[in-house]
Subunit: 403 residues, 2 copies
Amino acid sequence: MLKFSIHKKLDGTMARAGEIETKNGVIKTPAFVVVGTKATVKSMTAEQIRSLNAQVVLANTYHLYLQPGADIVDQAGGFGKFMDWHGPTMTDSGGFQAFSLGAAFGNSVSKVATSDVGVSDISAVSGQLAKVTDEGVMFKSHLDGSKHLFTPESSMEAQWKLGADMIFAFDECTSPTAPYEYQKKSLARTYDWAKRSLARHNELDQNKEQSLFAVIQGGRFQDLREEAARSLGALAQDSDGFDGFGIGGSFTKDDIGTAVGWVNALLPEDKPRHLLGIGEPLDLFNAVEAGCDLFDCIAPTRMARHGSLHTADGRLNIKNSRFTTDFTPIEASCQCYTCLHHTRAYLAHLFRADEMTAATLASIHNLHFILRLVEKIRESILDDTFHTYKKEFLARYHPPKTS
Amino acid sequence: MLKFSIHKKLDGTMARAGEIETKNGVIKTPAFVVVGTKATVKSMTAEQIRSLNAQVVLANTYHLYLQPGADIVDQAGGFGKFMDWHGPTMTDSGGFQAFSLGAAFGNSVSKVATSDVGVSDISAVSGQLAKVTDEGVMFKSHLDGSKHLFTPESSMEAQWKLGADMIFAFDECTSPTAPYEYQKKSLARTYDWAKRSLARHNELDQNKEQSLFAVIQGGRFQDLREEAARSLGALAQDSDGFDGFGIGGSFTKDDIGTAVGWVNALLPEDKPRHLLGIGEPLDLFNAVEAGCDLFDCIAPTRMARHGSLHTADGRLNIKNSRFTTDFTPIEASCQCYTCLHHTRAYLAHLFRADEMTAATLASIHNLHFILRLVEKIRESILDDTFHTYKKEFLARYHPPKTS
């Protein structure tokens, strides 16, 4: 079971810097969690992940449950050992993907629901076959169409086999635009599922090898978010309770700090808080300021595979023709492997030539950028320069538009 | 210019172990040359190539000439620097690809010609638009259909810009099944092109930075192969002559030692001999025994991307279902990164999940296997155990079929 300690709180904000101790190592928080969906960070080796000083890797339960199956990962000694990552690990609950991939076969169901949908059968939204009941979520595999049922209990069983240090309770991830009545009903279900998840987790994990995070939902409704924080927060008070919290759902850039702040103001202070699926610089600053400790996101590597590269001056698209004769690194000051060894012209060539190494080199750079950013945010909390750092960073990264 | 020294000749064979000294480092021969077609070894970083103790990388002139263009590679400081490979480098002449890719858009023209074809216009063979004249080869780009002319002079100019340590004279790569009359005529043209290549090379390379290899063709006709070896060999006698030899064309497993032996028996002994496009274990043993020093081949990495992995007991197809629960390395005794860190089950998962890292890990293993094999062949020449090593290796790799 994890141990969380807070080293510094930033006055006038909810930001904090601390450490999570797991049996596989220490995570200095705030921390960015690298996503290795199918027990591999796309286009990268485990050695390359280590060389980035990544602290923790998250795999997706939905994907590994379907392929190669939780039993094979269990036989391998858990997904970390399976992929040769020996540091701290996480798995998500499988809920989000069961809705988005299982339901809509690639459509992001939770983000496209229209505001007049108020039913518990997601097929009304997607026209597909994921079905939510109080029992769980019935979905079709995006790989072969086979039918599966995820319940709080089966999610805990799958995550037990996948063997991560930190796991998540099974939750219903609603659309942020779903109406109040549906969100309220869904939230009651997620609360019930959280308790069922906790009960099954405690049965399975007698030696407390895994730490279980409850997931706070509630859409964009302050009273629902606060109710979820209070009710699930109350389940973290004793030693058999939750060890941390995930904050789920979708947000806009404008309200992320506000919505996350509602939740963190009420959650127990002594448990880590993981904001699920967020990885853009502006969002990271705002969420840290609002009290979050952990973040995971596929954006750095997905963007990289499409040639979109982070720099201090914002993103650049390496496929732009002006880079074909630019013999400077992506960023002159960057210390990542890619910038130390290669030019923009070389990357531009690899992308044009459709070479796999393009994805590898771009992913190394983008992950390095985001990992270093969150490290620097942590340092800025510790030395009380957070506000200055945030202001200066964002002024360059998102410069004011000139007309 | 290279310096070649022979340290040991194996009695009763033409095998020899030596060293090629280039301005970018020493190559211990026999050596396997890693192919980085478009200035990248597919799915691998330069660091990964270095970690395999690869000695020399070959890029393809045809590919780099079309994309990103020889001028950009020139501005980058040559293809080695462009790709961050700082050891010895080679480029081929562009001839083979102009025929096979430029002519037939993916068909391997030089290997499909029928025996009744005796014309100098390859369009009669392929129905495509590569046209061979005494001037050179007119071909259409496989990328965009644009028309290009390769001549001995333009090949030297492109290779000068690509900047490799060792380059090849422009040659016509005929089909191994082309009839005698066509081969004879083609050989005269290749001889003429070799002289033109040499002349243009000496104009461009006043400081002798590059070493030029002539290419021996002649199909499977002993008299033609011998004539080519004699006539081109004679052009290597003075300091402005050829610095080494390539042996081109296709062979069968049965005749490779014989056909290569005809040539090497007549070539000057003091120049390195590169057998083009060969990389299977049996062929490597036979060609070394017949006096070859260098080999390049895309087979190890192409096979790897398709899941076909070298082991001492022959190839295995990692996509076979029996490997999905096999938690042992590809080879227990192998010291490559992949075998030290991963199981067959993990690789089987990555291939099934269509993850790019599958190609990377499999390529590392196959290249390590072939590089180590050629290193061991070299050692076996030095310590007079070549025949035993060859026999033992092949008995395991190609075990006798049991009925």
